[in-house]
């Protein structure tokens, strides 16, 4: 097993009186897909936002390649190489694929953009991800299907030499074929040596692409196990009850809500 690129230990986060994350420990390794599962309100999105620097953690440590780092904003996370693909994708419909992929980080001078360079880089990125469904990199995002949009959003996140990509329910709104495309893409990201965190409610997706499953239950990370050691039923029990046989919380009645 490779050394983790991103390590979180003892992370706590509260919003006012609500204690959302309790002492969360999580390690993300390059070349691995970690599925982050949990019921609604378990703290998945909050954990992602803490990693992405949107919410500062109350306590706990985040180490990047072994070095402790302090994240005060999304820019810090982006500078390290952490990219987040949010559920709503954050694409501008009226811009084309190249323009969206480079939005806010355009190449060239502010008064003379390097359109050719951006177009070529966008093509190369899409080509390395083996994306073959998009007709042209100059297609407006408004005319793309849901799966293609997701693809563009993911491609945008790997364009920046990123090391860790967090995907928030990338297949939630997609059909069967499009889900297929996106899952393949997720797998390819890991093959290229990125650490991938996949938030999903869909057990089939989780078992298909993930190497590890990390389960959050009421703000606690109750299990972080290799996918091959788990069954569907166990994961569902971990999500709903926080324990499954010997796995998860030892005594669920000690959980204070």
């Amino acid at each position: 097993m490779s050394t983790p690129i991103l390590e979180i230990s003892g992370l706590n986060k509260s919003f006012g009186p609500v204690h959302v994350l309790h002492d969360v420990d999580l390690a993300i390794r390059p070349g691995e897909v970690t599925a982050l599962v949990g019921d609604n309100g378990a703290g998945k999105s909050t954990l992602v936002k803490c990693i992405a620097g949107i919410h500062p953690a109350d306590s706990g440590e985040i180490r990047w390649a072994g070095e402790p780092v302090k994240m005060t904003g999304p820019r810090d996370a982006a500078a390290l190489g952490i990219e987040v693909v949010y559920q709503d994708l954050a694409l501008a419909d009226n811009l084309d694929i190249v323009q969206n992929m480079f939005l806010g980080r355009e190449r060239g001078k502010a008064w003379a953009l390097d359109e050719a360079g951006m177009e070529q880089a966008a093509r190369e990125t899409l080509a390395t991800l083996s994306v073959r469904t998009v007709k042209s990199v100059r297609t407006l995002v408004s005319s793309l299907s849901g799966g293609q949009r997701q693809t563009v959003a993911i491609a945008k996140s790997v364009l920046w030499d990123s090391k860790v990509v967090l995907l928030d329910e990338p297949t939630a709104a997609l059909g069967v074929a499009q889900t297929r495309q996106v899952l393949d893409l997720v797998r390819r990201l890991a093959e290229q040596g990125l650490g991938v965190v996949l938030i999903s409610h869909n057990m089939a997706d989780v078992f298909e692409v993930s190497d590890r499953v990390a389960t959050l239950y009421l703000g606690r990370l109750v299990a972080d196990l290799p996918t091959r050691d788990l069954t569907h039923g166990q994961v569902v029990e971990l999500i709903t009850a926080g324990r499954s046989g010997d796995l998860g919380l030892t005594r669920p009645d000690t959980v204070s809500i």
């Binding site: 009226n94 323009q99 806010g104 177009e119 408004s142």
Partner: protein, 482 residues
């Protein structure tokens, strides 16, 4: 892999491409952009049917109007009238060009018209009072005006729009120094005052967070009052200055007209062709070469025809000779080129489209959305000041109705008729020019047919309604097609 076809025999009867383009296509493998003219035209038709109309309805409308009016009126297609039409429509068109920036964000600037009136009044007052604005305005008004300009500078600093802080400083310097009248300085003063006004609007919208509709509605009324205060009820300030009068009424010399043609049309052709071949060599997405060539050819032809016609004598009397391209043409062209460049080729323009398309995505991409939002109002008001110079020059005076009444509504109408969306994110500077031409033609043609103002208003309203319906319907089609 297995290349069994005989060497030298291309598999498809396509125009030969150079090897770099071939390689890039092979590398990428997915870029199946139309590369032949037929495909490109079919793509375009598909896009139009899909609801992406752009300026097409306005261009068709322009042709229809030209045909109808030239059949109905003998004097419509005379050289004199066409030159007149250009000058008549220029003021509103220029204001519309500035408004496109605001409309791209899905915002509205209702105050652009009366704000332009204020700049015209300041310009005229400076001229009439011999540079003594303190005397022209009276001490209390002058002090308030200076304070507002200082506030505008502070606002620019707060918004970090440093470039926009310079014009108000210049305006202040000119007002306080009592510099003697000079037409060029006065035009600069008008634009600088426009910038200051835009900064105030932008601050109220982006920092205080009042909807732009309300802010600019309030300012529309307020600036109307300011114009009345500056000029005085029933007053008129004459622009007795050759240069100021020539802006909208003067013409280039015949030689100058041809120089303009060579610079503008030749420059356009050089830029478009150079860019096309550069992209082709790099293997990037391009339009087919015949299509690009046709575009350039048509532009050159139209430019040449217009220049030939406008350099002929169009005077009604034998005593004087009127020749040459009106000055408003190069003014509009320069604004068109600069505006288009800013929107298409700079990161600032890219960010405007992004904020108009999806403000949240722009924010997450690290774009300073409030700053962009404020800046478009600065552009709108500054460009409106240029429009004010043109329309004031056309009538040769500034009265309290300057920039009021229908000016703003026509300007918004021009942008929308040309294909700029009121919902934001979609539009180009050229839309304003085409839409402005449509409105100018309606007003001019109906005037020649001696139609009463009632008919002109109703028809202009209907044209705008038609354009807005096309916009709304095409949007529905686009979203339904997804």
């Amino acid at each position: 892999m297995t290349d069994t076809s005989p060497a030298g025999a291309p598999a498809t009867p396509e125009t030969p491409r150079d090897s770099a383009a071939d390689r890039a296509v092979a590398d990428f493998g997915i870029d199946t952009t139309a590369r032949s003219t037929g495909e490109a035209l079919r793509d375009y038709v598909a896009r139009v049917r899909g609801g992406e109309l752009g300026s097409l309805p306005a261009l068709l409308g322009l042709v229809v109007l030209a045909v109808v009016f030239s059949l109905a009126s003998d004097s419509f297609l005379t050289l004199g009238n066409i030159a007149n039409l250009l000058a008549q429509g220029a003021g509103v068109t220029i204001i519309a060009m500035g408004l496109v920036f605001v409309l791209l964000l899905g915002e509205i600037d209702l105050s652009a018209g009366t704000a332009s009136g204020v700049t015209a009044a300041v310009l005229a007052l400076h001229l009439v009072s011999g540079g003594n604005l303190l005397g022209g305005m009276g001490t209390p008004v002058f002090v308030v005006f200076c304070v507002l300009v200082v506030v505008a500078v502070a606002v620019a600093a707060q918004l970090r729009l440093w470039a926009a802080a310079v014009p108000p400083v210049l305006a202040l310097a000119m007002m306080l120094s009592g510099i003697p009248p000079n037409p060029w300085l006065e035009m600069l003063l008008a634009v600088c005052v426009g910038t200051a006004i835009g900064l105030l609007t932008g601050f109220l919208v982006s920092r205080i967070g009042i909807p732009s509709f309300v802010v600019t509605l309030a300012l529309f009324l307020a600036w109307q009052g300011v114009i009345l205060q500056l000029i005085g009820e029933g007053g008129t300030l004459g622009l007795r200055d050759e240069t100021l009068f020539a802006v909208a009424n003067g013409n280039l010399s015949v030689v100058g007209s041809w120089v303009l043609f060579v610079v503008a049309a030749g420059g356009y052709a050089a830029v478009v062709l150079a860019r096309h071949y550069r992209r082709l060599r790099a293997g990037l997405v391009t339009q087919p070469t015949p299509l690009v060539a046709a575009k350039v050819g048509v532009t050159l032809l139209l430019g040449a025809v217009a220049t030939i016609l406008l350099t002929r004598n169009r005077s009604q009397s034998a005593l004087i000779e009127i020749t040459g391209v009106p000055f408003v043409v190069p003014i509009v062209l320069v604004l068109l080129v600069v505006g288009t460049y800013v929107l298409d080729r700079t990161s600032y323009g890219r960010h405007i489209y992004a904020v108009g398309g999806n403000a949240e995505a722009a924010r997450r991409a690290g774009i300073n959305v409030p700053r962009i939002r404020a800046s478009v109002f600065v552009i709108s008001a500054s460009v409106a000041a240029i429009g004010a110079i043109v329309y004031s020059s056309k009538v040769g005076s500034v009265d309290p109705s300057a920039g009021g009444g229908t000016v703003l509504l026509y300007a918004v109408g021009a942008a929308v008729i040309g294909g700029t969306s009121l919902f934001g994110g979609k539009g180009r500077i050229s839309n304003a020019v085409i839409g402005g031409a449509v409105l100018a033609m309606v007003a001019n043609g109906l005037g020649l047919l001696r139609q009463p103002a009632a008919v002109v208003f109703v028809i202009t309203g209907l044209v705008l309604l038609l354009a807005a319906s096309v916009d709304a319907l095409s949007r529905r089609k686009v979203s339904a097609g997804r």
